[in-house]
């Protein structure tokens, strides 16, 4: 166990260890759903929400079921199943009881099942030996960091929407280039806080 405040982890995972800009994780929805700011914010909220709860759930499952039974090596399959089932359950619940929430994030939930950020956070939590609170800080921070990244991308894309691009760069091509540039900009944050 390492002695870092959950707050530090929270801020680090937004700025210095942003999932998109330093790990390039969760790229598929990042590229495809970043055309408009409101939509990307909706997706970002959904990611943060699911991320926080699945990480908590996976922490409990890992430390109270898998570790005592000596089955740590099953974590990949168990984490994936948990995430999938949780997303499905949440979707049903939100659709039924939180109608308004459903209209803002509900439609994004199925997209998130296969977003690798979610699995990555659960796995990093294990690799880095985080405590429960550290994991929560890490999860919320990663979610907000991801939201920040996708919203910034949507903003940039809206700006260049009417500009002429070389044919081969349209769509994903230019998105990846912009991501690279933003990642470079985010390097400027490194040194503020350090985790890992």
């Amino acid at each position: 166990m390492i002695e870092i405040s959950p707050w530090v982890i929270f801020f680090a995972s937004i700025f210095t260890n942003n999932m998109i800009f330093s790990n390039f994780l969760g790229m598929c929805s990042f590229i495809s759903v970043s055309n408009e700011i409101p939509t990307s914010l909706g997706l970002g909220q959904a990611v943060t929400f699911v991320l926080t709860f699945t990480t908590m759930l996976n922490y409990l499952i890992y430390h109270y079921i898998l570790v005592p039974l000596g089955l740590e090596y099953l974590r990949f399959i168990i984490f994936i199943i948990t995430i999938a089932a949780f997303v499905q359950l949440i979707e049903m619940l939100v659709e039924r009881y939180f109608t308004n929430l459903y209209y803002t994030l509900g439609i994004f939930l199925p997209l998130i099942t296969v977003n690798c950020v979610i699995l990555a956070v659960s796995l990093f939590m294990v690799i880095r030996n985080y405590t429960f609170l550290q994991s929560v800080g890490f999860a919320i921070g990663s979610g907000i960091g991801w939201t920040l990244a996708i919203a910034a991308m949507a903003g940039a894309k809206q700006r260049i929407k009417n500009n002429k691009l070389p044919k081969g760069l349209e769509g994903a091509g230019i998105t990846l280039i912009i991501t690279g540039l933003m990642a470079l900009a985010f390097v400027g944050f490194s040194g503020i806080v350090q985790i890992q």
Binding site: L71, L74, I77, I78, M92, E95, R96, Y103, I107
Partner: protein, 365 residues
């Protein structure tokens, strides 16, 4: 050995518990029971809730036009939702104008049936069905236009108004990896109930490439219809001015056939635009109609005639012939079918001649 047993049991138990949880949730939380859907204030349906409005309506054999099959990528399946259905979803926004949102229009493939709903759909959609048809005839009319006859299954019939269109489902083929629907006007009169004739011009697009290059006689084709508010209006006995170019001839032929079948005694003139004499087709049929109909005249006009064609008829685009022969818009109505460019220029000529908006019917494609 024990490790294998423990691991397998562990994963099985874990997955089993989650599956059980989800099944319970599906039967309690996601179970909306039977819901009432009221259509156009008079038809009530009791349906199983929880599905999209589009698929719920299809289950009730009501077909809303949809080209993408409910994925929210075509924007055709708009329906007026007066009650129930919740707010407009982000997935619908790209397809709805502000006016449509104010008028409670929704994409029926995105809007779910979860509570009692009141919706409005055009009355004619109750007549829309899905048909499985066989290619009976596939003939070159001109170098670019093919006539396609689709015969319905034995015993099946289609009811339509002369001038309406159907949608043809284009399957995936070598070079096209998505299923699409394309609309084509029916070219035969409604008295023919067990087949439809379509005239399809080659544009190099997904559908016309399929029909011109891949389709063979005997193939099965899925169609649905009829749709459209471009059709023969029989409330008046006004003189009819009909204008078409290329494959736009289809709805006009259907209307003329209808007039012949019902012995309608209205004066009618059909202006047909083409490039060269090669591009004129179904002439025998039209000349026959000239003899049989009460007062019908066919005026083909060619825009690219050369000396060797020996053409003695009209020259230039259709709007020139209209300019020349149509005196005024008094007691006349016009039926136009063709490209947006042609329609716009013809509407301009007719408006100048005194036609009002409600006496010009057109189908742009």
């Amino acid at each position: 050995m024990t490790t294998i047993i423990i691991t397998t049991t562990m994963v099985t138990v874990f997955t089993g518990i989650l599956a059980l949880l989800l099944t319970i949730a599906n039967n309690t939380i996601a179970n909306y029971g039977e819901v009432e859907v009221v259509i156009n204030d008079d038809k009530e349906y009791l349906v199983q809730g929880g599905n999209s409005l589009l698929s719920t309506l299809v289950d009730q054999k009501i077909f809303i036009p949809s080209a993408c099959g409910g994925r929210g990528t075509c924007g055709y399946c708009k329906v007026k939702v007066l009650e129930g259905g919740g707010p407009v979803l982000p997935t619908e926004l790209p397809w709805l104008t502000e006016d449509e949102i104010r008028n409670h229009m929704r994409l029926s493939c995105q809007c779910k049936v979860k509570e009692k709903m009141k919706i409005e759909i055009p009355e004619e959609l109750f007549n829309v069905r899905e048909y499985e048809a066989t290619v009976e005839l596939l003939e070159d009319m001109t170098p670019e236009i093919k006539k396609l006859r689709l015969r319905l299954k034995e015993g099946e019939e289609i009811d339509f108004k002369p001038g309406q269109y159907i949608q043809v489902k284009i399957p995936t083929y070598d070079g096209n990896d998505e299923e699409v629907y394309r609309a084509y006007s029916i070219g035969n009169p409604p008295s023919v109930k067990n087949y439809i004739d379509l005239y399809i011009g080659y544009t190099g697009g997904i559908a016309t490439t399929y029909i011109h290059k891949f389709l063979k006689i005997g193939d099965t084709v899925h169609i649905n219809g009829p749709y459209g508010d471009f059709y023969y209006h029989d409330q008046s006995d006004r003189e009819m001015i009909m204008v078409a170019v290329g494959s736009g001839i289809a709805p006009i032929l259907s209307i003329l056939g209808y007039m012949k079948d019902n012995n309608i005694r209205r004066k009618a003139t059909f202006y047909f635009g083409a490039k060269t004499p090669q591009d004129l087709f179904e002439l025998d049929l039209i000349r026959g109609l000239e003899k049989e109909l009460y007062d019908f005249k066919f005026i083909p006009t060619l825009s690219r005639v050369k000396e060797e064609h020996n053409w003695t008829g009209e020259r230039g685009r259709v709007n020139i012939a209209l300019e020349k022969y149509v005196e005024n818009g008094v007691n006349k109505e016009a039926y136009l079918c063709g490209s947006p460019g042609m329609i716009d220029s013809v509407v301009e000529v007719l408006t100048k001649k005194g036609f009002t908006e409600d006496t010009i019917f057109y189908d742009k494609f």
